[in-house]
C-alpha cells in the first residue's frame, strides 16, 4: 500500500458518495399538487383555505423565509401545482404541507423534481434518504382478517359442484364406485371450508401481496405491509399518508370480478326469466300509475344517492328476494349503467336475477388492460384467462349458448351479454359503459386480484408530521453534537493522528449514508442508533491502532516502522471484533423485522464502511504522512513518545 496511486481509491469513493448524497443537500424543486375540485368550492371557502395556507406558510412551514413558493400562497396557481424551491425539503415537511391543507393539496400527486444526479445517472430514481414512519409521520393500521365471511363466499363458489355431487352420491342408478368417488370429492370440498392456521396464513400472504400492489399503484412513498401471524392480521405502515380514509378504502376493498349466468329465459327466448319478469311487471304497473317514486329501482337508487352504505343495499335486496320468492339457487343483483347520455352518472337501472354459483371468478383471469373503442366511443377491458380458466370459460359458453352471462364487479352487474357461440382461446373482453377511470379500476381489480379475505380495522394510529419533524431536528442536532464532541476528543487525545481518525470518521459516515440512500433504505430511530454505534466502532478501530502504534513507539521503534507494525498488530483485533458484531447483525437482518432489521442494516453496512476507512483509508493517510510528507514525530496520548532512532 505504499504506492501513492492508491490514494485515488478513497478520493473516488468519497467523490461518488458525495454525488449520491447530493440530492439531500442540494436546492430542490417541489411540485405541490393542487386539487382540481378546489375550484368548485364556494368562493368563501376557497378564500379561507388559501389564507390559512398562506399564514401557515409564513409562520410554520417557512419561518426563516429560505424557501420560495410560486405563485404566492394567497393565489390559486394557473398550472396544477405550486412550485416550492429550497434546500432540505424533507418528506416530513411535504407531509405536513399536504396534511394541514388537505382540501387544497392533493398529496399523492406531489412531486419532488429530480436533481441532475437522479435524472441523468439514475434515470429519475429518487436518491434522497428516506425517512421512516417515526421520523416523517404517517399512519399505521392493523387489519384483521374476517374468515367467517371468507368461508361463506367460498361456499358460494362451490354451490354448483356440491349440488351435483350430492345428486350423484344419492343416485342409486350409478355404480358403487362412482357414488363413492362423488362422496370423496364432496368430503374434499368440505375440507376446503375448514381453516387451518396454515391455510389462514396462506390467505393472509395473498392479501398482503394484493395490498402491496394496490399501495404501489397509489404511488405511495413507502408502504410496508407485514403479517402478524398470531393475530391473523396484517399491519400496514404508510409513512406520510394523510388522507387515511381514502387509503383505508383502497386497502380494504374486497371487490371481485365474477361471471355469473342469468336465470334462464323460457324455451322461446321471449322472457328474460320468470323472476325478472315478475319484478318488471310490478315495476311497470307502478310506472303506469304514475307512481315512479315508489318503484323498487327508484327506491334503490335513492339508497345509493343518499350513500346509506352497502349494508342498507344488501338489506333492500334481501327483502326483495323474499317478496318475489326467489329460490336459494338464485340471487338478486342490480345492473348499473348510464342513462342514454354517456356523461350521466353510473346508477342502478335494472334488477337482474343471477345464479348463485359463480361461473368464473377473478382467480381465472389475469393481465387485464383497458383500451378505447373508437367506434363505440367508450372503454373496454380485455384480459386473458389462465389455462384452467380458459377451459371453464369454453365449457360454460358452449353449454349455455343463447343465455346471458353477467359480469359482476363488486356487487354491480356491469354488463350481461348473450353468449352467441362458445368462446375458446383464453382471451376475452368486457364491454360496459365505462369511463376511463372505471375501466382502469376494473382492469386493476382483475390484474391484482381481489382481496381474498375481508379485513376489519383492528388498530389505527397516526404519527403527526410535526412530531416527526421535531424528532428529526432534535435527533439530528444530538447526533451532530455527539459527532463534533467525538472529533474534538480525538484531536485532543491523539493530535495529528486524531485528525487522521477524524477524517476517516467523516468519510465513514459519508460513505455509509451514500450506501444507504443508494439502497433505498428507510431511516428510522433505530437506524439512527445503528449509526451512532457505527461511529463508536469506527473510533474504536482507530483507537486500537493508535494504542498499538504508541506501544511500538514506546518500545523505541522508528515512526515508519511503528506505524506499519501498529496497523499489523491491530488488524486481527479489529477484524475479530467486527466480524463477531457482523454475525449478530446479519442474524438480526435475517430473523428480525421492523425496528431490529432497520438497526441491523445500518450496523452491518457501518461495519463494512468502517473496516474500509480504518484499515485502508487511515493507513493510507498515515503512510502518506510518515513516508512521503516526512512526519517524524507522532504524539499519541499525553506522554511524549519520540522516536529514538531519528
Amino acid at each position: 500500500m505504499k504506492s501513492v496511486q492508491w490514494i485515488f481509491v478513497p478520493i473516488l469513493v468519497v467523490a461518488s458518495s458525495l454525488t449520491l448524497l447530493y440530492p439531500n443537500f442540494a436546492e430542490r424543486e417541489l411540485e405541490l399538487a393542487v386539487r382540481k375540485e378546489f375550484k368548485q368550492l364556494p368562493e368563501e371557502t376557497r378564500k379561507e383555505l388559501l389564507t390559512g395556507f398562506a399564514e401557515r406558510w409564513k409562520a410554520d412551514y417557512n419561518p426563516k423565509g429560505d424557501w420560495q413558493i410560486e405563485p404566492d400562497p394567497n393565489i390559486f396557481p394557473d398550472q396544477d401545482y405550486y412550485l416550492v424551491k429550497g434546500r432540505f425539503i424533507t418528506s416530513a415537511k411535504i407531509n405536513q404541507l399536504s396534511q394541514e391543507n388537505q382540501e387544497l393539496i392533493l398529496e399523492p400527486k406531489n412531486k419532488l423534481r429530480p436533481t441532475w444526479v437522479e435524472e441523468y445517472i439514475f434515470g429519475g430514481r429518487p436518491l434522497a434518504i428516506r425517512l421512516g414512519l417515526d421520523l416523517q409521520g404517517g399512519m399505521r393500521v392493523v387489519l384483521k382478517g374476517d374468515f367467517d365471511d371468507y368461508t361463506s363466499k367460498l361456499k358460494d363458489s362451490y354451490t354448483k359442484e356440491i349440488e351435483e355431487l350430492t345428486r350423484k352420491k344419492d343416485d342409486h342408478s350409478l355404480s358403487e364406485k362412482e357414488r363413492k368417488e362423488a362422496q370423496d370429492k364432496l368430503k374434499e370440498i368440505e375440507s376446503y371450508f375448514e381453516l387451518t392456521p396454515s391455510r389462514k396464513l396462506a390467505e393472509l400472504e395473498k392479501a398482503k401481496l394484493i395490498i402491496d400492489n394496490r399501495l404501489t399503484n397509489q404511488n405511495l412513498t413507502e408502504p410496508q405491509v407485514r403479517i402478524q401471524k398470531d393475530q391473523d392480521s396484517i399491519e400496514v405502515s404508510l409513512p406520510g399518508v394523510s388522507n387515511s380514509s381514502q387509503i383505508l378504502d383502497i386497502i380494504r376493498n374486497t371487490e371481485t370480478v365474477e361471471y355469473r349466468l342469468r336465470e334462464p329465459s323460457d324455451s322461446n327466448g321471449n322472457s328474460r326469466g320468470i323472476y325478472h319478469d315478475a319484478i318488471e311487471l310490478e315495476e311497470m304497473k307502478l310506472m303506469n300509475d304514475g307512481r315512479r317514486e315508489e318503484t323498487e329501482i327508484v327506491r334503490f337508487q335513492n339508497i345509493v344517492k343518499q350513500k346509506l352504505g352497502k349494508d342498507e343495499q344488501d338489506r333492500f335486496l334481501e327483502a326483495m328476494e323474499k317478496k318475489y320468492n326467489i329460490p336459494e339457487k338464485y340471487k338478486l343483483y342490480v345492473k348499473w349503467s348510464r342513462a342514454n347520455n354517456p356523461k350521466a352518472s353510473l346508477l342502478p337501472r335494472e334488477f337482474v336475477v343471477l345464479e348463485r354459483a359463480i361461473s368464473l371468478d377473478g382467480k381465472d383471469m389475469r393481465n387485464a388492460r383497458e383500451s378505447y373503442d373508437q367506434n363505440r366511443l367508450s372503454y373496454y377491458v380485455s384480459f386473458s384467462l389462465t389455462s384452467q380458466g380458459a377451459e371453464k370459460f369454453f365449457d360454460i359458453t358452449s353449454k349455455n349458448v343463447g343465455r346471458q352471462l353477467a359480469i359482476v364487479w363488486g356487487d354491480k352487474v356491469i354488463s350481461d351479454p348473450v353468449i352467441r357461440s362458445p368462446i375458446a382461446g383464453g382471451n376475452a373482453q368486457i364491454d360496459g359503459e365505462f369511463g376511463q377511470k372505471e375501466a382502469t379500476d376494473l382492469a386493476n381489480v382483475i390484474s391484482e386480484g381481489a382481496l381474498p379475505i375481508p379485513l376489519n380495522v383492528l388498530e389505527m394510529r397516526f404519527i403527526g408530521p410535526t412530531l416527526g419533524i421535531e424528532s428529526i431536528e432534535v435527533g439530528l442536532k444530538a447526533v451532530l453534537l455527539g459527532f463534533a464532541l467525538v472529533i474534538i476528543f480525538m484531536l485532543i487525545i491523539y493530535r495529528l493522528s486524531g485528525l487522521v481518525a477524524d477524517i476517516a470518521l467523516l468519510v465513514n459516515v459519508i460513505v455509509l449514508m451514500a450506501l444507504l440512500s443508494l439502497m433505498g433504505f428507510t431511516l428510522t430511530l433505530p437506524g439512527f442508533a445503528g449509526i451512532i454505534l457505527t461511529v463508536g466502532m469506527a473510533v474504536d478501530a482507530n483507537v486500537i491502532i493508535y494504542e498499538r502504534i504508541k506501544e511500538e513507539l514506546a518500545a523505541g521503534k522508528h515512526v515508519s516502522a511503528a506505524v506499519a507494525q501498529g496497523f499489523e498488530n491491530a488488524f486481527w483485533t479489529i477484524m475479530d471484533s467486527n466480524v463477531t458484531t457482523l454475525i449478530s447483525g446479519i442474524l438480526m437482518i435475517k430473523l428480525g423485522n421492523g425496528p431490529i432489521k432497520g438497526f441491523a442494516i445500518t450496523l452491518c453496512w457501518g461495519i463494512i464502511t468502517s473496516l474500509f476507512t480504518s484499515l485502508f483509508l487511515s493507513r493510507m493517510i498515515m503512510d502518506l504522512l510518515v513516508n512521503k510528507l516526512g512526519v517524524r514525530k507522532l504524539q499519541i496520548g499525553f506522554k511524549k513518545l519520540e522516536s529514538k532512532n531519528v
Partner: protein, 312 residues
C-alpha cells in the same frame, strides 16, 4: 499494574448483587416491568378537546382518577390529543364507569373498556360524539413480535458467535464472551426494570447496540490475551492481567468517545431518545466493566476448573 484477576470474585459478586437488586426492585416494588402500549396493548383514543382544555388540565384529570395516561398533542390548532392508556388502568376505567352509571345499569354492564373511556370523557368534558376522532383497543404490536423473534434471535446469535470465537480463539474464550454478553443484557434489563423505563422500539435498539458494543469490547481484550499467550511464559492468569492492563487505555478512550456521542443525545435535548440514551449510557459503562472485570476473569475461572478436571 492493577491485579484484576485477584478481585474476580469481588467483581462477580458485585454483578450478582446488582442483578438481584435490579430484579428484586422490579418485581418486589413495582410488580414487574413498566407497561407500554407498544408492548402490552391498551386503549388509545384521539380526542379533540375544547380550546380551554390544556395538557395540564388533562394530566390533572387523569391523575385524579388514578389513571395512567400518556398524552400526545397531535394537532395544536385543533387541540387534538392522543390518549394512551396502558392495560394496567383498563380495569380502573371500567370500575369508574360502573360507579358513574350505577351497578345495575345495563349500559355499564355491556360497556367495553373503550366504551367506558369514551363515556367518561364525553361526560366530563362535555364533548360531542364527533369530537372523539378515534378510539381503539390497541393490540401489542411490537411486544408480540419481539417476544416471538427475540429469544430465538438471541440464542442463535450467541450460538454463531460461539462458533466463530471457538474457531478463532478457543472454547474457553467463546464461553467467557457469551457469558459476559448475557451478563450485560441481564443487568441492563434489570436496570430497565429498576428505573421503570417503558419498553419501546428505541429501547430495543439500545439493547441491540449494547450487544454489539459489548461483543466488540470483549473481543479486543481477548485478542490481546491470545497474542500474549503465545509470547509470554507466565501463568495464564498473569497473562490475562497483563493483557487487560495493556488494553486499558484503549478501553477507556473508546468508552469515553462512545459515551460522548450518547450523552450528547441527552444534552442535545432529543426527548424522544432520552430513554434510549439512558439505557445506552448505562450499557456502555457496564459493557466496559464486564469486558474488564467479568469476561476475562470468567475465562480464568473456567481455565482453572478445566485444569483441575484434567488432573482428577
Amino acid at each position: 499494574m492493577f491485579d484484576f484477576i485477584k478481585y474476580k470474585y469481588v467483581s462477580i459478586t458485585f454483578s450478582t448483587i446488582l442483578i438481584a437488586v435490579g430484579f428484586g426492585v422490579t418485581f418486589g416494588k413495582y410488580g414487574g416491568f413498566a407497561t407500554s402500549l407498544d408492548f402490552d396493548g391498551g386503549l388509545r383514543a384521539v380526542v379533540e378537546f375544547p380550546e380551554n382544555v390544556e395538557r395540564k388540565n388533562l394530566e390533572e384529570y387523569f391523575s385524579s382518577k388514578n389513571l395512567e395516561a400518556v398524552l400526545v398533542l397531535m394537532d395544536k390548532d385543533k387541540n387534538d390529543y392522543q390518549i394512551d392508556i396502558g392495560l394496567g388502568s383498563v380495569d380502573q376505567i371500567k370500575q369508574l364507569y360502573v360507579e358513574r352509571k350505577g351497578k345495575d345499569s345495563l349500559e355499564a354492564k355491556q360497556a367495553s373498556a373503550i366504551d367506558a373511556l369514551i363515556g367518561l370523557l364525553q361526560e366530563d368534558f362535555k364533548l360531542e360524539k364527533k369530537k372523539i376522532l378515534s378510539a381503539n383497543q390497541v393490540g401489542s404490536v411490537v411486544g408480540a413480535e419481539l417476544t416471538s423473534t427475540g429469544i430465538s434471535l438471541l440464542s442463535l446469535t450467541l450460538f454463531f458467535i460461539m462458533i466463530y470465537l471457538s474457531f478463532r480463539f478457543q472454547f474457553k474464550f467463546a464461553l467467557g464472551a457469551i457469558l459476559a454478553l448475557i451478563h450485560d443484557l441481564v443487568i441492563t434489563i434489570a436496570f430497565i426494570g429498576f428505573f421503570q423505563i417503558k419498553p419501546s422500539v428505541p429501547i430495543i435498539a439500545a439493547l441491540l447496540t449494547l450487544l454489539g458494543y459489548s461483543i466488540n469490547d470483549t473481543i479486543v481484550v481477548f485478542d490481546r490475551i491470545r497474542e500474549n499467550a503465545g509470547n509470554l511464559r507466565d501463568a495464564f492468569s498473569q497473562i490475562i492481567n497483563i493483557s487487560i492492563n495493556q488494553t486499558l487505555s484503549r478501553t477507556f478512550n473508546t468508552s469515553v468517545a462512545t459515551l460522548i456521542s450518547v450523552v450528547a443525545i441527552i444534552i442535545g435535548g432529543a426527548v424522544e431518545l432520552y430513554d434510549f440514551a439512558y439505557v445506552l449510557t448505562f450499557g456502555i459503562i457496564l459493557g466496559t466493566f464486564s469486558s474488564v472485570f467479568i469476561a476475562a476473569p470468567l475465562v480464568d475461572i473456567y481455565d482453572g476448573l478445566s485444569k483441575r478436571w484434567k488432573r482428577s
